[in-house]
Subunit: 722 residues, 2 copies
């Protein structure tokens, strides 16, 4: 035994050395880290994962579930469970009514699980204590397997499991703004993960790991390419590349969608027009849809950005969005494909308040879109600002399928270099009550429960994923992918609960560590709001790349491109009047909000300058005696101070976090503090140059003059796309 | 013991599971894989690495060496050697004459080692059998440590080591064509590894691993940014980013250089001119050099591309290259910095044979460059083609420091998707005898031994490194970085020997595997020559991105941008006459070559069409009775067949290679075969459309017409840069 022991010890040390090098916390594993449990936790896991029982032969999707369970258990417990047929104590049993008719006897809520849900339950079957992963479908088993692994990682009592879940939203989807040259528009995590040149020949492991991460959240659709798309993406060579990706993603329950360029019939087939009412155009799209489905039988459908920011669309031919969307819908309908039509329109000619444009264009079309069209609406009426009120279309189109579009990538929240957890933003939007009916939250409109008619539902997120080793450009950005997926599955989840889940899987389960990181995360988005665009300011960023402050910018060709259009700061006051004396944008909301947001006194302070132009010297009740100018400065200072506090809190976590991640996050927080000061100083300097008022007593003056801030260039910022 | 044994076994299994996942062969470790040795090889290594003996406290460079030895030994043997002070049996002793005066007694060739060389020797010291890593400097110890680890990985007899080496070339340098937006011009391995936005705050582990890989080859300089550079790279924020990188690279003996934009004084300081003879310009560069050296005390110097392809330069003011280079040299001289001035000039007005231009511009300046200027000359007179004769400047400027520039990235050899080992190309160039004197090979000119005057010497390679997990876009591309570094250290090394070294460290030491992969690699470059540009053809690629064939292209604005300019194919013949009846480019070479290359009969077949325009129907001796047309077609076919054979040989290696790498390489070879056929078919179709001759008997006709090949677009090819 001694010799064998020595040999074993030597081998173990070799592996340790090996592992110490190979298993740096480089972020690649995301929240599926499955790190070896401490000794005392290993036995309970081993006892509840003695074997896997599943139907054989396993389909690709069931095999994906089995492989994930094997991988997770092996890594966490040191023992890979064998796949067996007979029940045994401690087995994990993957069962559907079709493969395991006995399920019917167990009073499981099978109806509530639907086609995608799962139940986890500790039960005794034929005298064996087992854990049941039950579902009506293999997809449910896949999601249930990931849910069980999450429970293990979160330290659940594996002997007493009893939970079930089903998604409330039908389509939980990522939108990649990835270009065929692998640049990513508003991507801050490196190149596109889609290696188009290598496809379809090279199928990277990364594609599988992408699928695993998404499946673990229940994401079931992905749009591979940018909404500002090239027609070539619909040619055969590119469709074959997309088909190869669809093959990799299929076992993980993810359907592939493509952004379609509305003018493709002209560019690819030389048709003289892309008019949606032209029969040749119609025929071309029908044939193209047939071709796509020959290559990708379960293709999801087309996402279309039309007549916005210069993209082609039906408006080029005097046709409506309905004409365009319904024409494509008819081409896809035989294949049960969807048209996802973006409501983000940014016309080059509309002179009205930009916040009103989408409502103006789409509201009249309510009820006129084909049943396989979903209108995808951004969370707010402008463009993914740190804070916006909910989009007025929510609740305004009861007879139209409305999807919700979030931006996971932080175009306006500091790119990949600032720590900003978006859970609170998503939660704020989803829980917003539109007041178009009782309990008419955005969540209930988007998940369809307000209507109860089984309409297709959708939550989409613009991905923050790239080739960076950690996928998202920083460890904390991974939390935004995570919370998007979790909230798309269940819009009622709280940002705080999801943050804690994520922290426990990503960093540590120690309560002290979870509490400390949760505090950093939960305050981080409000910090960004404060140092960038406090009390309802919006669209104050530098031109083009959107990095850093530009409140003074006023010389761009169209009025609504300019930050000054939005802040309307002058000697007397600041803010955009969207009430009765202004653009009347408030009238696009339900009377409840139109009335409240229409008056300064009943507008919440965090939206004040969104809806109102107010005097610098006005003293408003929520500001506790401070004038608007004093409050504005106060909020900028609070934003900077919040980052200082985040740094301090992170510093204190040094003993609890591995060196690589601790140092990198600390480095990013240093950047964030510097840039928070830049935003604060530049904004205060500019507004002071306009309002000519002294700084409030005790406030530190900006480091430079407004002219100096204007001269700063942030060259070569990432994320331009091509 | 049993309990402990069980606990140990469980832990080991956990680690195994862990490791199996984390240690996929993803290519990140390059040739420094240090995988655990099989049991029978572990003991001999442990016996020869019982401890490390080194001077304390260790400097950062010595610590880098020690850390590498610890890491390598721990991973390969399972036992990390402790750092001790007293000799013991089996110790590794890192010694310089300063730290270990006893070295003098050991009759080591210390003089021959110089400032960078090392000796490895198994000796008995004070009765202890130890391994000596000896050098005159800590840098030598660093290189020696990597050399010892290489010996271990290659399976050397560690008990009987006796080798020493010193670099023959002073500067062994990478040129990154990396832009500040992280695009890489002619980069096919993802974004730049320099995360400029995160710098200087974020110092990635990748920078350290880059330094380790380079130090293992003896590379001692790196130019961080593209020769087509932006002036902003010389501003303080960017210099601080470069300084942070210099800090990381310094312990690995790598000096940082920057490409400098000649017009920077205008762009950054608003000077009205960048005329090198203007005192204001001179003063600006002196001040800039002072600033750079304050931030990077060991800064290497500037690389300059001037008056080429539209870049600014002294020619804009009627000044010469000498004026420009010497002005910069004077600014850098007080800091002992270098000016590396590229001889790649591509004027927009010179109407002569493009192959003659650099010689014409630079040869008259021989002896007029400052001593701290190195003229960096590409290996051939056109531009990194699959095959070129050596550049005529080699041997033509005996009184000027001439550096050699290779391209490691495969701009003209199939990007990252084709397997093309460049060792034979580098070897062919280095061993080419210029015949300007006895034994006047390019290697002896470049390493200075022909002149023996201690002049500064340089071999530079345009890097193929990017953010791809495997660094180079494919596993086999790593071999080109490796062979570049090894040959820059010792230009006499053979491509075959280096390939075998690399294979043994990268894939397997099994002789059968090494032989099979070596055969694939050694034939691969000639295969590319054959299917792209056989018998001396050159510059036949598609426009702009350079991917795929374009022999028909004749409509670009300047004559020498067009492939037809180079192939000069017509009804009667093909090839570029550079002899007495043509451009007389042969006259730029020594009489030996001018005479031989001036006549068809004495021109080697592989350079035939480089130097001569010959009739399609001419039967030349080396072609064994075939006409030129028949030989051309024959070579295209041979190129395709070589790729078919490479695929077959690789397929047979499936049992010997891990699944990930085997599948990926197989995928790339599939692409390569398809594209080799594309090159072959398109080229034959075009030349046949010109020469109107039937295909030789038995030859397969191209799959499509020349018109169809012309219509093919390879859209969104990578590597454009910005």
């Amino acid at each position: 035994m001694t010799t064998m022991f020595k040999a074993l010890a030597a081998l173990m040390l070799a592996l340790l050395a090996h592992t110490a090098h190979g298993q740096t916390e480089d972020g690649y594993d995301l929240w599926l880290r499955y790190r070896a449990l401490p000794a005392e936790a290993r036995q309970p896991l081993q006892a509840r994962s003695t074997a896997l029982v599943a139907a054989e032969p396993a389909s690709p999707m069931l095999r994906a579930a089995i492989n994930e369970l094997k991988r997770g258990v092996a890594q966490m417990s040191g023992r890979e469970p064998p796949l067996v047929q007979a029940l045994q104590d401690g087995a994990l049993v993957l069962a559907t009514p079709a493969t395991w008719p006995e399920l019917a006897r167990l009073s499981l809520p099978m109806d509530a699980l639907g086609q995608e849900g799962y139940a986890l339950r500790s039960v005794t079957l034929d005298g064996h204590a087992v854990t049941l992963i039950a579902a009506n479908t293999e997809r449910g088993l896949l999601y249930g397997s990931f849910a069980w692994l999450r429970a293990v990682q979160l330290g659940a009592d594996l002997a007493h499991l009893d939970e079930h879940a089903a998604p409330k939203v039908q389509w939980r989807m990522l939108n990649h703004w990835d270009n065929p040259d692998r640049s990513v528009e508003r991507g801050y995590a490196g190149l596109s993960i889609w290696d188009w040149q290598g496809l379809p020949d090279i199928r990277r492991q990364r594609y599988v790991d992408y699928a695993r991460a998404n499946a673990s959240l229940g994401i079931n659709g992905t749009v591979l390419n940018n909404v500002n798309t090239k027609a070539e993406m619909l040619t055969e060579p590119w469709l074959k590349k997309a088909a190869a990706l669809a093959d990799v993603l299929r076992p993980y329950g993810i359907r592939v969608f493509l952004s379609a360029r509305f003018s493709a019939p002209k560019e690819l087939a030389g048709l003289p027009t892309a008019d949606p009412l032209d029969p040749r155009v119609h025929a071309w799209w029908r044939a193209k849809a047939d071709e796509v489905y020959r290559l990708i039988p379960d293709f999801g459908g087309f996402l279309v950005k039309a007549n916005s920011e210069g993209e082609p669309g039906p408006g080029d031919y005097g046709r409506s969005h309905m004409d365009g969307a319904n024409m494509l819908a008819e081409a896809l309908a035989p294949h049960h494909g969807l048209v996802i039509w973006r409501a983000f329109v940014y016309s080059e000619t509309d002179a009205d308040d930009r916040a009103k444009q989408a409502y103006g264009e789409f509201k009249p079309g309510d009820g006129r879109f084909a049943p396989n069209v979903i209108l995808q609406v951004k969370n707010g009426p402008i463009d993914f600002q740190p804070r916006e009120p909910f989009h007025p279309l929510f609740g305004a189109m009861p007879h139209t399928n409305l999807g919700l579009e979030f931006q996971i990538t932080k175009e306006y929240l500091g790119f990949a270099t600032h720590l900003a957890y978006l859970g609170p933003l998503f939660e704020e939007v989803l829980r917003a009550d539109t007041h178009v009916a009782d309990d008419a939250t955005v969540a209930r409109i988007v998940d369809g429960s307000l209507y109860g008619d089984g309409r297709p539902t959708l939550i989409a997120g613009v991905a923050n994923i790239g080739e960076d080793r950690d996928w998202c450009g920083s460890d904390f950005n991974q939390a935004n992918w995570y919370v998007f997926g979790r909230m798309a599955w269940d819009p009622e989840l709280s940002a705080d609960a999801v943050a804690r889940e994520w922290i426990a899987q990503t960093f540590s389960r120690a309560p002290r560590v979870v509490d400390a990181i949760d505090k950093i995360m939960m305050g981080s988005r409000e910090a960004v709001v404060d140092y960038m665009t406090p009390i309802g300011l919006h669209h104050q960023m530098a031109t083009n790349h959107h990095y850093g402050p530009g409140p003074w910018v006023s010389d761009l060709a169209r009025p609504e491109w300019n930050p000054t259009y939005y802040n309307k700061a002058d000697l007397n006051g600041i803010g955009f009047d969207r009430g009765a004396t202004g653009s009347q944008a408030v009238a696009q909301y339900a009377p409840y909000w139109a009335e409240r947001w229409g008056r300064v006194e009943t507008t919440p302070p965090e939206l004040l300058l969104w809806f109102h132009h107010v005097g610098w010297d006005a003293k408003l009740a929520p500001f506790g005696g401070r004038t608007v100018w004093e409050e504005l400065v106060h909020r900028y200072d609070a934003g900077v101070q919040a980052v200082v506090d985040m740094r301090r809190a992170w510093e204190a976590l040094a003993p609890d976090i591995d060196a690589r991640r601790h140092a990198e996050v600390a480095g990013y927080l240093a950047i964030q503090e510097r840039e928070a000061r830049w935003w604060r100083d530049a904004s205060i300097a500019y507004f002071q140059s306009v309002n000519r008022r002294p700084l409030p007593v005790g406030v530190v003056a900006p480091a430079m003059t407004v002219e100096q801030y204007r001269q700063l260039k942030y060259s070569f910022a990432p994320g331009h796309g091509s």
